[in-house]
Symmetry: C2
Subunit: 547 residues, 2 copies
């Protein structure tokens, strides 16, 4: 049996995982990643699927743990190349269908809704979905029976014993499985470095209640659109205090629609209102639910902070609740948004101290609970950066898993488990595939390096015309540029550059060389001239036309 | 009397502050800022000094609170334009002199060392330096006597009652001043949103001791080079356990030299060692002190993580201590560094839980202590983002300062304080001046926008030659580009682009237009063609030569 994790951007095993057994392959999740700051101009990253496509005849199905974009966002890309049956719980299935529609995917997808507890047979493996608690409803863990033994995959999870929506993580099922020798546990490592327990979502209820009851004006609550439990709480508390709720932000509006249609969100009677309705109410009768907790430039909250939201104008007396923590890398954008809201006179409630958010993943003691219940022979920490996996691996050893049976895998590593043991036997392609407009290709280091250079000191172009007959320049070299210097400094630099190029060409022509020599000497002359004048190194593009 | 704060990058009043009284101006600090992520290609930001230069005859002196770069980094720029006398405590004075030398500043600077407690007369104002505790030795707060009353400026401070180096913040002096009606308090707001007290630097001693005594191998401690107290602790504990200390990283080596020469750092006998010496010792006899806690790409720790440090190779058994927290915006780089160190087999100690760092600024209760001791009539929170100032302002009101006497100023705001009250009366230039190579200019939004565009989808250049006689194109349009598509996709796109441009020019020529029409139609044709083919929008630069 072989296990191949596929993450991306350092989140190992996060977005896709392959299980091979005999002639059968089961795919777990197919998610996308958002590019990090240095991946200039990249829209999204999807997992390299070449290994799957090469083995297309063996793929029995795609099993989905939950409906977050980093677990379902690449399903459209996968189905376009390989229309394999998909198995998911109800909400995840709906979100996948929505995604296929939004991306205009033409294939007739086979999406199967699987109720928690059900078992799906996929070749020689069978996959049972069990409920886990996470920051989106209807999340599942997997119990996979294979000829070699039982595998438990937690998916993204935490142990909230009384969640706002749905079932708590099914500890009874895990306890029962744990009494029968489990071969392998794959467990979520995202918060392996946090000690203790992640607090219950119920603790947020208390904070939101206190804030809403105490607010003299409007309360604007921003959170993740997929965090339906938070939306439910906000609506319930608003209803309790007879406030009307206006929902704004495209993804939030979409999720409120899907989650209420599917019955996960129960909107209290006469609470949800249109803007025209809340606009005429006193401020202390209004709650606004919105997105933008990550400082995303086009989100509703950021537009409010910029005074650019078409309906909501922030005013003194407003209370804005940032009911989320910044995802690593977004801190600066979030901070900027908070400052802008304060400047407009709002009181902003944010940060750990305010207790208006809890994580969606389990902390150290929860990971230990799972390890203790499942008692696996082999353990592979998944979903996390290397340091999280290392911490989780150490936890597993502390909990009694033999050190040689704990594997920290890298994306693409092939772990082979047999009757006599397990080891990493090779690697399959697992590069980051970038989607940038219509172009989908492996990340091109050279292209990204060029973009980085362009972004530092801009670009200068010099056009040179050569006579085909004499090999000599015709007319003056023409120079233009972008992003190198401010408008005021151009003219002098351009004319100096023209002179530098002209004399460099004259010299290289004298040496009787051709077109590429002209380009090289123009580039060199300009680079030297500009560095001398500015101590900066723009990208220099010479372009020679022969007439 | 007029007060003009000058910060930059949202840190209001952080880097420079002007006090005007009658005909006299006193400048407090002259610091630089590091650019945020979106300021592509900018090296450093310095405060706009045009208002100072315009009033150069009235400037009596530059008073420095402490030696961090965000308070002294722009001194070389200021002195080059205005060679005003500088007043600073000993370590700050030495660091300023070093900075002038490193930048090759030719002016003969008048740098005066002022012992804490001393008073300097500057026009109608007199400035007394009093010791405050901060994350660099020899930090000072200021008591400024003016004809209108007393001003207290805390500088950057915290209330560590038993600091490792130097005096605690002088509460007696502040208590005494507080009994005489203080006109105005300016106080550090950096950590106004943290409740309670910032723990003493002594708490770090316990953690470092525990880590070093427990480590089987080498202990590599990374911290800020200016955090001399941390360096002192690391050396003392190393000496206690008979470990030798090797110092690496240019800024750390420099600071160890300056701080030990000036007597702030007391290096225990036979502790400091060269690499050749520690290289031959057993790993449990070695401590390495280094920089790189912010994930700076060229720092010693990051080079170790990349396996590129010329001397130190990370090996299993090493313990790396990140004795600092990431400065906002650096989180992703720091995280990447930690992952790399784990991959190389090191155990990495980091984060709040590990108690290996304390902040250099006071938390809420400390700010309240100062407000309570000083009891000012007017209060201006300084040093912080808008949200920190807003929190600090609210604290001041809670502590009894009249709401109408609390001013949240923006950079460049002019607060005029008279016998009958205070109000903001205007604004002076306070833009961010960017230093990028030799060019020092106000941040040019257009240029930064161009760099942003270039960084997203790269650049495509098209060179067109026109006959001066006929106005018709001569030869083929030539196309090249950078950062737009990977090398493999170029050829087809370039030749398609050539055809698109050629036919567009033919058409616009038919309409009998000139050179700029040719450029416009080439740009438009290429933009349309590339968008159709790739859904991307590179910057397009047409360049026409007439022959």
């Amino acid at each position: 049996m072989r296990l191949i994790p596929r993450g991306g951007l350092g989140q190992i095993g996060k977005n896709m995982m392959l299980l091979e057994c005999g002639d059968d392959i089961v795919v777990i999740d197919s998610g996308l990643m958002f590019p990090s700051e240095e991946m200039l101009g990249v829209d999204i990253i999807i997992p390299d699927m070449s290994y799957l496509l090469k083995n297309r005849d063996r793929v029995r199905g795609l099993v989905i743990t939950h409906g977050h974009e980093d677990h379902i966002g690449a399903v459209p890309h996968l189905l376009q190349s390989l229309n394999v049956p998909v198995y998911a719980t109800k909400l995840s299935a709906r979100l996948i269908s929505m995604g296929l529609k939004q991306k205009g995917v033409k294939v007739k997808a086979q999406i199967n809704e699987v109720p928690p507890g059900d078992v799906v047979k996929l070749g020689c493996m069978s996959v049972e979905f069990f409920p886990v608690c996470h920051s989106i409803p209807d999340a599942a863990g997997l119990v996979i029976q294979t000829p070699l033994g039982t595998i438990v995959h937690t998916g993204d999870f935490k142990l909230d014993h009384n969640p706002i929506i749905g079932e708590p993580t099914d500890l009874h099922r895990l306890a029962l499985i744990g009494t029968q020798q489990v071969l392998l546990l794959l467990s979520d490592s995202t918060y392996a470095e946090l000690p203790g327990y992640t607090p219950s979502e119920q603790t947020v209820t208390e904070s939101l209640d206190r804030i809403i009851v105490g607010a003299q004006g409007r309360v604007i609550i921003a959170t993740f659109s997929s965090l339906v439990a938070r939306i439910q709480q906000a609506m319930d508390i608003a209803a309790k205090y007879k406030r009307h709720v206006f929902v704004t932000g495209r993804s939030m509006e979409g999720m409120v629609k899907v989650a209420s249609e599917t019955g996960y969100l129960k909107i209290p009677a006469s609470t949800l209102s249109k803007y025209e309705q809340v606009h005429n109410l006193p401020p202390d009768r209004v709650v606004i639910l919105t997105t933008g907790t990550q400082g995303e430039p086009t989100s509703a909250l950021v537009r409010m902070g910029n005074g650019e939201h078409s309906q909501v104008r922030i005013m003194p007396g407003d209370t804005v609740v940032m009911s989320a923590t910044p995802i690593p890398g977004n801190e600066a954008l979030v901070s900027k948004t908070i400052n802008k809201l304060f400047r407009l006179g709002a009181d902003v409630v944010y940060g750990h101290q305010s207790r208006v958010h809890v994580h969606g993943h389990g902390s150290e003691e929860e990971l230990k609970t799972i390890l203790n219940l499942v008692r696996p022979k082999y353990f592979v920490p998944v979903h996390g950066e290397y340091r999280h996996l290392a911490k989780h691996a150490k936890l597993a050893e502390d909990m009694g898993v033999a050190g040689e049976n704990v594997f920290i895998l890298d994306n693409g590593d092939v772990l082979e488990i047999g009757v006599n043991g397990a080891k990493v036997v090779g690697k399959v392609p697992a590069g980051d595939i970038m989607a940038n407009g219509l172009i989908t290709a492996e990340l091109d280091g050279g292209m990204l390096r060029d973009r980085r250079l362009l972004s530092r000191d801009g670009v200068v172009v010099v056009a040179i015309v050569l006579s085909r007959e004499t090999g000599k320049p015709v007319g003056e070299p023409q120079i233009t540029g972008r992003g190198f210097v401010g408008a005021g400094d151009c003219n002098e630099l351009w004319s100096g550059g023209q002179r530098a190029v002209a004399s460099a060409i004259a010299y290289s022509q004298g040496a009787g060389k051709g077109r590429s020599a002209v380009e090289a000497s123009a580039r060199e002359a300009l680079a030297r001239y500009f560095y001398e004048k500015t101590h900066r190194r723009p990208v220099i593009l010479p372009i020679v036309t022969e007439v």
